[in-house]
Symmetry: C2
Subunit: 352 residues, 2 copies
């Protein structure tokens, strides 16, 4: 039995707890043993919550419990999250996180601390929510010299832009709608002014280029001053406006990195990424452009990434691991038994 | 110094050898020591080739050299590739491969053999070429119950379909053009009749659903009988025809899996994947739909995936590994120094 603690019982933290329960058998299969949430740290009480017995208010309870080997930090920010992460790593506990602000500000120190203590500090959930991007950059594209990363990294602003472009909705009206739908926070500055995008492009660029880039050194312009006139000028030029995080290595060893509304061609891989979706295009010198897209935020997509990191903490090596079983294929449905709608006048199935 | 052997000096094999040279410092950094190609196995001689001294014709030379710890199998097919892979794994050597035919036919046996001998059998290059998909499915999406995978998995047929759809070109004319451009082989049956797509969807479905699915049990229809009339009927219905590999888990535990030309909505994530590009949409119960796309074939994209697997063989665990260095950020270019084309009448940069 592997025992974990979840720090912060907000959207992401409660998503992690729920996902570990919902996909319990799957986690057990992948980790080789059951993963149990022993503690949930929050300043609040949750008297009606099914997990109320797990709530603790004192981080020391978790820190000093030798049974806890993995901690999921979903508090956010750089205050308590930073303090608890340092203490956890120093105590030899693995930490996984969705906290892009902390990773962007303190990753070099926290990774060093993890190394010294023989544990992991993992942050797949810090960029792109449920889109796998951190591990693909580090491992799957490891044979590439990575030259460029361009991303739509913030769902809130992409939703607002989509409304401005598709429905000619004014920025302030679109923002209000995003807030009503829960896509934007009451104080939307971090999203709208581009700071969230900045943290994320800094994390991706640091990994790709091998040197940490701090958000305060990156020019950041949000979408708050964007007008319908700008949107219309872009359309007239056959372009579409997206809030991009942009990072490119130049031949002289320097890095071009910024966050800004940018105009891109309508056939650019990122042009059709709409609403709250995120998309990231990475350019490698061997593989060319590779694009990833999916839900960049939200309770379960983000919990999915935290969950993958939790599993990763339980399996330091996969040498010779059996990935799947042989089988007699009796479970494969006969094509004749499948039911389709067909394209009229043809035998071509229509797939939703 | 890590010593490797490359089996087969064709397009992919020569790409692997070139990439290891081109990105040598990067491989050294990631692996922790230099990776050298000691042997290249091929039945041919290459008297003009810079690597001619590495060419050997007898696999036993490689098999019995204890210095060789990693073998890249890029022969293809199930005859020699199968025999050599078994011998290599049994001798305690790691094997990485781009050979989808062999993985689709023999993965359970070869993975078992790898496990028994404490080595790895890795095949990121077998599906999607340079698109990271194998490791993301296994690791990044590990916390998800994966329900469905749909993919455009063959660049040759997607190129032909794009020509049929965009330029109203007849199948046979488009095929001939693909052959002239080197996108289709002289004998195009494996691509055009859907067998290549079938092997790839079998590999993905086997990983996602945990049981090996053999290609011979999967209904496979190619694009050879597709007419411009079909294409036009789809367009009239607001749909677009793509050759899809489709795999879906059903509630009764069976699997719907087939390969067929299918009609999809023009706003489907795979609808805009054109020419020789591949795209794969994976649906997880936590993350929703995640789509990956990029170059699904070709010398360097495929070599990029083989190279990532070679690196992976050298680093069994990444506990506490430092991913990047701290830095003073002096290499970050000032935004004022960046030169852009701006959208007319605005300060919005136009990004190519």
């Amino acid at each position: 039995m592997i025992k974990t603690a979840v720090l912060g019982y907000g959207t992401v933290g409660s998503g992690v707890v729920e996902l570990l329960k919902k996909n319990k058998r799957l986690f057990t299969d992948k980790a080789g043993e059951e993963i149990q949430v022993k503690y949930i740290l929050d300043i609040r009480d949750f008297p009606e919550d099914p997990n109320r017995d797990k709530i603790v208010h004192d981080f020391d309870v978790i820190l000093h419990d030798p049974e806890i080997t993995i901690i999921a930090e979903t508090i956010g920010g750089k205050t308590f999250a930073y303090e608890y992460t340092k203490k956890a790593l120093a105590a030899g506990k693995n930490v996984v996180t969705s906290n892009k602000e902390l990773v962007a500000a303190k990753a070099p120190e926290l990774l060093q601390l993890a190394k010294e203590n023989g544990v992991k500090y993992l942050f797949e959930a810090s960029v792109g929510g449920g889109i796998p991007i951190i591990r693909p950059l580090l491992h799957c594209l490891a044979a590439n010299d990575l030259n460029k990363i361009i991303g739509i990294l913030n769902g809130t602003t992409n939703y607002i832009l989509t409304k401005m472009i598709k429905e000619n909705m004014d920025f302030s009206v679109a923002l209000k709608q995003a807030q009503q739908l829960g896509y934007a926070e009451a104080n939307p500055a971090a999203d709208v002014e581009g700071h969230d995008t900045c943290r994320k492009i800094c994390i991706l660029a640091s990994m790709a280029f091998g040197k940490h880039i701090y958000p305060e050194n990156v020019y950041t312009k949000g979408i708050q001053d964007l007008t319908l006139e700008d949107v219309s000028k872009a359309a007239q030029a056959g372009l579409v406006i997206k809030l991009l995080g942009y990072a490119e290595k130049t031949t002289d060893g320097s890095v071009k990195i910024f966050v800004s509304p940018c105009a891109i061609r309508t056939d650019h891989p990122l042009a059709n990424i709409e609403d709250v979706f995120n998309g990231i295009t990475v350019t490698g010198n061997a593989t060319g452009d590779v694009t990833f897209y999916g839900k960049g935020a939200g309770k379960f997509p983000t919990a999915s990434a935290v969950g993958a990191d939790i599993i990763h903490c339980t399996t330091p090596a996969d040498v010779g691991k059996i990935l799947w079983q042989d089988s007699d294929n009796s479970f494969v449905k006969s094509f004749q038994d499948l039911q389709f709608t067909y394209l009229t006048g043809t035998e071509i199935p229509v797939i939703e």
